[in-house]
């Protein structure tokens, strides 16, 4: 058995356990042998004992027992209720709020999801994808297809931004639709129109000795012209930057 005395700090730490008699026999002996050295600790023990004598009488256990009476029955009853809840209810419990949020999101952002931007002056926002048509922000990719309806063509041409703010494309579209011309005719003339009116582009072209692309195309045999059109179908035509 150790007979060394406790330090002041150790005495403080052991004070509650000593006062409430929850200290080992060995520590109790050492504590009591050290106690005369610290009168303030002795006084503290007296104060704590006086107060906690009343705490001991509080009958806290009795109160807890009163509140935990029939706890087993309550727990089983609650567990049974929970097990009776349909698994679908648990799914619905999460689906309802998610569905609600989805509806709200659609109400707020629905326009952006379902309606393509049709602004004629804001090509960068166009992002329409169809089998016959693909427009990318800042550029125009026309994939030729004879299934393009008149309304769709007008809509597209109206939204295409031509170089130098030229509106010839949309004008052309209206003209050709009015005359019930084929899509091939439209594309052919559109190309000519671009080449004839865009000086920079024309200067960089090789016309094989012809005065203009129009002249060159006019002189082309029908089979070669059709071949050119075929090739154009596979080409990406980019206007603007």
């Amino acid at each position: 058995m150790k007979n060394e005395e406790f330090s002041y700090k150790e005495m403080q730490e052991l004070l509650p356990d000593y006062t409430f008699e929850r200290i080992s026999e060995e520590d109790r002996v050492r504590f009591e042998s050290t106690l005369p050295n610290y009168p303030d600790i002795q006084k503290e023990i007296e104060d704590v004992r006086a107060v906690f004598r009343r705490v001991e009488k509080m009958k806290i256990d009795e109160k807890i027992n009163q509140h935990t009476r029939n706890l087993t029955v309550k727990v089983h009853s609650k567990m049974n209720k929970e097990s009776l809840v349909s698994p679908y209810y648990k799914i619905v419990k999460y689906l309802v709020p998610i569905g609600g949020l989805a509806i709200i999101a659609l109400m707020v952002f629905g326009d952006y999801v379902f309606v393509p931007n049709q602004s004629a002056n804001n090509v960068s926002n166009i992002a329409i994808e169809k089998p016959f048509l693909k427009l990318k922000p800042g550029t125009i990719d026309l994939v030729l297809d004879s299934g393009l309806s008149d309304e769709e063509f007008v809509e597209i041409t109206n939204s295409i931004k031509m170089p130098n703010n030229d509106n010839s494309l949309s004008n052309l579209a209206e003209v050709y639709i009015d005359n019930e011309l084929s899509i091939d005719n439209i594309i052919n003339d559109i190309i000519n129109d671009w080449l004839d009116n865009d000086v920079n582009y024309r200067n960089n072209m090789v016309y094989n000795g012809y005065a203009s692309v129009t002249d060159y195309l006019d002189e082309l045999p029908e089979d070669e012209f059709q071949l050119l059109l075929k090739e154009l179908e596979n080409e990406e035509i980019i206007i603007g930057s």
Partner: protein
Amino acid sequence: MYGATLILENDPDIIEEYLSGNRERAANAFIRKYQSFVYSTVLRFLNDYDDADDVTQEVFIKALKNIDNFRLGSSVKTWLYKISKNQCINFLRKRKLLSIFSSSGKESILDYKGNELTPQEELERLEFEQRFEEAMQHLPKKQRETFALRYFEDLPYSEISKMLGTSEGGLKANYFQAVKKLAKYLKEE
């Protein structure tokens, strides 16, 4: 000899019985063994008897549902303490939200019906209990928990250390401070 088979007392036996299928008997033994500990723990967090009743039930339901995850050899009290604390935190969050819409009539400690004491003694006892509750609420959280787990639950420092994540030396200091403050508060009143 027969007692071992009739009365479930040891945690491994209770858990084994529960997992083997005799759930009701094992659950009853488990709840009876720890109901006082769980209820008093929950009550300290919520400071309301009715709320503590409900949350205590939730703690046991959660514990029984997850009992197969409990590692035998570790302390059931430590495990239950963690579940109790989490359930109380969840409950307090919900109550905070609901308090916007309604005000609850809490059972006062004065509602507790006493026993054979005279009316005067009963009144003094109730007043002292109320003061003690106030004194407990004035303690820092760590000191309050250390005091309750050591004084009321009589848990060893090693187990409290696991529950609260504090060194045993720190717990002893907390316990001393808590006892000193409570004695001072209750003496002054």
